[in-house]
Amino acid sequence: MTAEEDRKYAGQTLAIKRHFEPVMTEPIPARMYLKSPGWIEYARAAVVLAVGIAIGLAIPMLRPAPAPLTPMVQLPIRAARAHLVYSPEVRHPVEVDAKEQDHLVKWLSKRLDVPLKVPVLTQEGFELLGGRLLPGNDGPVAQFMYQDPAGKRLTLYVTPTRKGEATLTSFRFAKEGKVSVFYWIDDQCGYALSGEVDKTTLAKVASLVYKQLES
């Protein structure tokens, strides 16, 4: 009966459809773009607060276990360690010498899978010695090494950020033992400039690096 009836009333069905079709394209009243109802917002806020309190209460219990280090927290630590390992090297401070700068940049860009730039720090008295590839947390990282006429060395540690993990940060300073580190993260990489120099000197160089990389 149904197919037959459908045919019988096909005209009626079409008339209904046509008659109300214009409603489909009417602008939707603003009031219909609801936010969640107010009480849901309150409920959410309450949940957030409760979780916050729970975490706050739990923290003293958790204290013996070290908090997991996020890549962001690890960045200055790893950079400072890499600096400590390689900057005292007399004979092999770098893997690829600055004389082969083009090759160095191409090679490291390829291995890190991001286009790298090598900052020029001559105006602050530091010349590029070269660079090397290092094992990072979950993939290769690059280290560029600079030296001033007095033999003082700075290293720039570059680690690509994984998608979704990048949290942009402004300049930050950390001190790991004798090593001072300025570090920041942009949309592609985390950078850390390390050196056993005073904070002011390092800050000047770091801002030069930052300017050149972000330009």
Partner: protein, 163 residues
């Protein structure tokens, strides 16, 4: 919030509500109440046919609105029961679509409209309205026939003047 999932269905809900309620403001109120209820109950939705779920919510809201107006939707309203709605029995009145729809029993109107506007299957309508498929079919059949008569001006056969 999952409101973004619901937004694409707003035009469909509005179209159906307009046809079901008749007037624009009343229809948008129905949509609004439906949306608010859907957001409140969203945690009850199990991934599946979101459209059918939304229309079932609209059905519930609609039924509640009818109850609020003291019209029991569970009673199938036959032509004989609402003679007052028929203007004059002797003059054959040709109604336009909107006025004719309003004169359908709400239960019949819902089924006719869901099938005409949303191309729903009987099973979809059965789920959206919470009624057996057999009921969907009989309401559709009666609704279409009554709508046809209202629009073609053919007086219902058993209609009698109630003095």
């Amino acid at each position: 919030m999952d409101y973004e999932l619901i937004v694409p269905y707003i035009p469909n809900l509005r179209r159906y509500a307009r046809a079901l309620v008749g007037d624009r403001d009343g229809a948008d109120d129905l949509v609004q109440d439906t949306l608010e209820r859907a957001v409140r109950k969203f945690h009850l939705w199990r991934p599946g046919d979101l459209r059918a779920w939304l229309f079932s919510i609209m059905h519930n809201v609609f039924v509640n609105q009818l109850k609020g107006r003291k019209i029991s939707p569970s009673v199938e309203i036959d032509e004989e029961m609402i003679p007052a709605h028929m203007p004059t029995v002797n003059s054959v009145d040709v109604l336009d679509l909107e006025r004719a729809l309003v004169r359908l029993a709400p239960e019949q109107r819902e089924v006719v409209l869901l099938i005409a506007l949303e191309d729903m299957s009987y099973a979809d309508v059965s789920r959206a309205l919470g009624i057996p498929i057999g009921t969907v079919m009989s309401r559709l059949s009666r609704g279409r026939e009554r709508l046809r008569r209202l629009m073609e001006g053919e007086p219902p056969r058993e209609l009698r003047v109630v003095q």
